[in-house]
Symmetry: C2
Subunit: 230 residues, 2 copies
């Protein structure tokens, strides 16, 4: 344990000693969406070995980042207020990492929680404030997220808000491939996304996709590496 300390009196080092181990920040990423059971976390991070998930959760508890909350039956893990302070870190990482995502790999999955945090990352409140309040229902594979944008900001909920009638709550319902990435980066315009089949409008006003592209936008950094050599 002594050998694995960085040995510096520094904020960055303190942070890395608490959440710098493998998988730790991905657990935090999912918990930023909401409290999760052990099994939820495992489902959201399929490649994590169960012993690692177990030890990370213990470490995060000891660090005061995560808390076990007993439930009616079972229990959930939840971020403490202190742990919630990691949102800035996760969003900053997501923003920077967005540039290097490139195309979706064969073995790369997309999860509801990672998509939720991705939309939170891409959301630009300043732009959204000048828009009318809008509800988007986005389908990506079998993931359904409802994005509610208003002057207060963004709320992401899992599933459709109106399970019966599609247009009950959402102003725009659309299905997208993970190439929605290119809409958010601005590489693909909303029109050509619809034309090219990346986006399929299921209900509502297709013109709202323009508004969506403005509210959810991440500038690609110059010099970003698109393809990592393997």
């Amino acid at each position: 344990m002594t050998a694995r300390n960085y040995g510096q009196y520094c904020g960055v080092v303190s942070a890395l000693e608490l959440v710098g181990e493998r998988w730790a920040l991905l657990i935090v990423r999912d918990l930023l969406v909401g409290p999760r059971r052990y099994g939820d976390l495992k489902k959201g991070l399929p490649r994590i070995p169960t012993n690692i998930l177990s030890t990370r959760l213990k470490e995060l508890q000891q660090a005061g980042v995560v808390r076990r909350v007993p439930l009616a039956h079972g229990l959930v893990y939840d971020l403490t207020e202190y742990g919630r302070g990691l949102e800035d870190v996760v969003l900053a990482l997501g923003r920077w990492g967005f540039q290097a995502m490139g195309e979706q790999g064969e073995d790369e999955i997309v999860t509801p929680d990672s998509m939720t945090m991705a939309f939170r990352t891409a959301f630009t409140p300043d732009v959204a404030r000048s828009q009318p309040a809008t509800v988007y229902e986005v389908h990506i594979g079998d993931i359904v997220l409802t994005l509610s944008v208003d002057e207060l900001g963004l709320t992401v909920a899992r599933g459709s808000t109106t399970p019966g009638i599609a247009t009950g709550g959402a102003n725009l319902v659309f299905a997208a491939s993970p190439r929605i990435h290119e809409i958010i980066s601005g590489e693909l315009s909303p029109e050509s996304a619809i034309a090219g089949g990346t986006v399929r409008i299921l209900d509502g006003d297709a013109a709202l996709l323009e508004q969506f592209a403005l509210a959810f936008h991440l500038e690609p950094a110059p010099g970003a590496v698109r393809a990592i050599a393997v």
Copy 2:
């Protein structure tokens, strides 16, 4: 290599695959201060094994984060523009980790580069804008940093700007222990810091320490864990 991939199409994952390995972000932290030679990096990160430093630098180059720059004699490592985009990540980590720093440990060192980034983290431009332009010269152990604050922001330089006459450039010159941490967190007021010996005014107007404490401030988060059990 396949086993060490997180296997998710997600910005946070992409970022962690590029800079999430041990020591990587600390190398980036130091390079954010300026280009550094291999030996400089080693000096700034005394606990890093040389083979790890070597492989990290190669990985960071391949990721497009770091670039080798040949010099008149020798060479330096420098961040690419893309790598410089990690500043937000490092500052967010530093801000969050600041809460958990507590007292300086026996085996914990402070380096010029980590202090430089710490001041950049604690700097609050909004407050500083309402202050007159000021130059602080801070001595911490044998580290000397010159902090120039004006309406454009903060510039941190190593050493004294005026090697001959102490007051030539700096409005306030003071020596501080690493407990300067408590001034930045607000736990220790400037007056009591001087009274208690945490800060020793070497030159200039002692009242400027109040202004310093306002310009460099990090709010401690509630629920932060101060002492990590070992």
